[in-house]
């Protein structure tokens, strides 16, 4: 084949790679010092995206009025509803059910299964296909304190420390107490966790863990959990109906002030569908596709923060929406995979982070926020980043070191997905470094919940990445997959129970009218962006 297009590194970048190769032998014996607590604080303040004041603004209406959040999210929270309350006939109910689950990722699927266990009829309405979700993409693993030297209390301490001690203690307690139960549940559903021949779980460290409690399923941990839960949902078609390509675009309420289902939109026909439900669970995941501060993201296509918008409009409070997680190593080259996650394991195996001149500038295993800030400083302040032909900038993650440290073949064995990913674009990461830059990874906050997933708004439950409080200001690797299953199950159970007792009144969209009035009073109605966003728009924009 003649075509070589933009394959591999262009000559300018190769010049820098030569410098990386030149310093490599010496670097193999060098350890860059870790930062002191003072240095960490300082670099976070100066370079972490969460501290860039101009990227945030105060929310002007609603329950979080006066709180700060990124512009992109503020615009949607103050958005204009997509439906006209006067144009929709609520007498015409398309689906009547006990529990409506919005979002078919890990949290939504777990919730549906537990609601069913309570005897509920369940509908899962999801934006794309069932399982097209961030859950499917998690590689690293899931935490649970199930080894002899570990305990839920030790796990508790790690979670609180990781979250900077502002996490909701009741939620953290639920997370760590349920963790072993949840792993056992997944095991009984047939999840293939990595095990020793005698059945002992193979567990390793993750950033911020004091015990090795990261369980994995090769480097497809999230996919294995997601497809198992999905298959289990598919095993109960008589009780659980899945509506794909049918995002919720507004919640419904009844005249008693309870959440009573949602309006869905068929993405293919545009048709609106009215779903009446005795309990509703928002499990819509994160918002990486809002590209806060212009960052590329690791998230799936449907991660547009819709659930936050829907919950906000019925009066639910959001927590920690001023902090997002940026993963330090997103791919910065080639353009085709910009922002894609380069797993933490690469640094875990010994690869150093070096600048355009082949020099180290940060200890490779600082916490995610500190590591990301150091990379940003190197590129932005010190101008020591490497520029790509499309104008991106990044630093080198020196992967070939791994084979030099652990022996030839290690990279191929330990990081097959990564090798495959880069090989598709003519880059051999066993011989050449990868260019990386921080990428938008996780929404630390979300709708404030109680340990049973309830929100204070009758009939509304939230679980998973769409919720906020359990991780405080910073989520540790492996606690999100856990969160998703723990609180998905809890919300599902509570919603299923509620459905047995709840009596619904007449459906209404009065809250939408009231919202429009608030917008008008604040002088925002004319300029408000339509929301929820539902899909990103990349037409003619390359991302």
């Amino acid at each position: 084949m003649e075509w070589d297009g933009k394959m591999g590194y262009p000559p300018e970048m190769r010049e820098s790679i030569k410098k990386v190769e030149a310093t490599r032998p010496a670097r193999l014996h060098e350890t860059f010092p870790m930062m002191s607590p003072q240095e960490k604080e300082d670099i976070l303040r100066r370079f972490h995206p969460d501290y860039i004041a101009s990227a945030f603004r105060e929310i002007r209406i609603g329950p979080n009025k006066g709180d700060r959040t990124p512009h992109e999210l503020a615009d949607l929270l103050e958005g204009r509803p997509l439906i006209d309350p006067d144009a929709l006939d609520l007498e015409q109910i398309d689906y009547d059910t006990d529990v409506l689950v919005i979002g078919g990722g890990g949290a939504g699927s777990a919730a549906a299964l537990l609601a069913r266990e309570q005897g509920a009829k369940v509908i899962i309405a999801t934006k794309l296909r069932h399982g097209d979700a961030n859950t499917m993409m998690a590689q690293g693993g899931i935490q649970a304190a199930d080894k002899e030297n570990d305990s839920p209390a030790i796990h508790y301490l790690d979670v609180m420390g990781g979250g900077h001690f502002v996490n909701d203690p009741d939620l953290v307690e639920a997370l760590v107490r349920d963790a072993p139960m949840v792993i056992q549940w997944l095991e009984s559903l047939g999840c293939m966790f990595d095990k020793e021949p005698d059945g002992t779980m193979i567990t390793i460290h993750g950033g911020g863990t004091s015990r090795k409690r990261m369980h994995s399923a090769r480097d497809y941990s999230g996919a294995e959990i997601m497809r198992t839960l999905r298959d289990e949902v598919r095993s109960h078609p008589e009780d659980i109906t899945v509506l794909e390509f049918s995002p919720a675009i507004e919640l419904l309420m009844d005249e008693k002030g309870q959440v009573a289902g949602a309006v869905l939109q068929n993405l293919e026909t545009g048709e609106h569908l009215v779903v009446r439900a005795k309990a509703t669970i928002i499990a819509t995941g994160g918002s990486g596709r809002l590209h806060y501060q212009g960052y590329p993201t690791t998230n799936h296509y449907g991660a547009t923060g819709d659930g936050l918008v829907l919950a906000y409009r019925v009066g639910a409070r959001l927590a920690f929406i001023d902090t997002m997680q940026y993963h330090p190593t997103g791919a910065a080259f080639p353009e085709q995979i910009l922002g894609l996650l380069v797993t933490e394991k690469v640094r875990g195996l010994g690869a150093q982070v070096v600048n355009a001149d082949g020099e180290q500038f940060v200890f490779p295993r600082e916490t995610r926020d500190v590591e990301a800030s150091a990379i940003i400083r190197e590129c932005v302040e010190r101008g020591k980043g490497v520029r790509t032909p499309t104008g991106m900038v990044g630093v080198w993650l020196d992967s070939p070191m791994i084979d030099m440290i652990h022996g030839p073949g290690t990279i191929a064995r330990a990081l097959p997905a990564m090798v495959r990913q880069f090989a598709r674009f003519g880059i051999d990461i066993t011989k050449e470094p990868m260019l990386v830059y921080p990428t938008l990874h996780y929404q630390n906050g979300g709708v404030a919940i109680k340990p049973d997933g309830s929100t204070g708004i009758p009939g509304l439950f939230v679980a998973g990445e769409a919720s906020g409080g359990v991780h405080g200001r910073n989520r540790l690797m492996g606690n999100s997959l856990l969160d998703v299953v723990v609180f998905g199950r809890r919300a599902g159970r509570a919603a299923g129970q509620r459905a047995k007792e709840a009596r619904l009144g007449r459906l209404t969209l009065e809250h939408v009218r009231a919202w429009n009035q608030q917008l008008a009073q604040a002088g925002l109605l004319e300029t408000a962006k339509p929301s929820p966003q539902v899909l990103p728009d990349y037409t003619r924009k390359i991302r």
Binding site: F165, G199, G222, S235, I542
Partner: protein, 226 residues
């Protein structure tokens, strides 16, 4: 830097796009706001299976739209959905045996061993071999070898025997995970301990500490060595 655009044919219609884009980004560049055929955008979800031909080549190729770079003269179409049968079962009531596989998927035995599935798998799995293992009742082998299957459906779309490979594979993996892989004893023990309330006091104590005390405890906690 001025770039030469390359022609690609999306469902037969020509668009000129910058070289080096993935098929997915090329479609977006061409003006498609994707609804079908897109999910994770990173090679994990199997939403974006695409078939294509290259100019002057009779062969039909396949790839994931989010992972495959366009080539000049590429004729492409996405296959975001392909109907495949899925058997109904209750995983708690099955046995991890060949009989289970065949009773739920009797067409398993119709596999011709032609290898078309292996040729089209974008994950480069040896699908034919995995099917052969299934026909031998080697459930552990199927589970192991099919682990990287992203259920994109390409194998199903091309199989002359109308197999539902990926559904057979996930059944095998669940049977393996539930029945064949030894259960984690330490996990069962820990669950019992928690249910017996063994850790309640410890957690309550931590919850009752002041922020400063908790910080001190955190900063002085011992860390299990690598």
């Amino acid at each position: 830097m001025a770039e030469e655009l390359v022609p690609v044919y999306i469902m037969g219609k020509r668009y000129d796009v910058p070289p080096g884009l993935t098929i997915m980004k090329a479609m977006e560049y061409a003006g498609y706001r994707l609804v079908r055929g897109v999910g994770c955008r990173a090679g994990f979800c199997g939403a974006c299976a695409t078939v294509y031909r290259l100019a002057g080549d009779y062969r039909l190729r396949v790839g994931l739209a989010c992972q495959t770079v366009v080539e000049p003269g590429m004729y492409l179409a996405q296959i975001p959905f392909y109907p495949a049968p899925r058997a109904q079962y209750d995983i708690t009531k099955l046995q991890p045996t060949f009989a289970t596989l065949v009773s739920l998927y009797p067409e398993l035995l119709r596999c011709l061993g032609c290898g078309t599935c292996t040729k089209v798998c974008p994950q480069e799995l040896d699908v034919k071999d995995i099917m052969a293992r299934a026909m031998r009742g080697d459930i552990a082998g199927v589970a192991d070898k099919s682990f990287d299957c992203i259920m994109c459906g390409m194998c199903v779309s091309r199989c002359p025997a109308e197999e539902a490979q990926y559904n057979i594979f996930i059944l095998a993996r669940r049977l393996y995970g539930r029945y064949i892989a030894p259960r984690a004893q330490h996990l069962a023990k820990r669950v019992q301990e928690i249910e017996a309330g063994l850790y309640d006091q410890d957690i309550q104590r931590l919850k009752s500490l002041s922020n400063t005390e908790l910080r001190q405890l955190y900063n002085s906690r011992d860390i299990e060595p690598e």
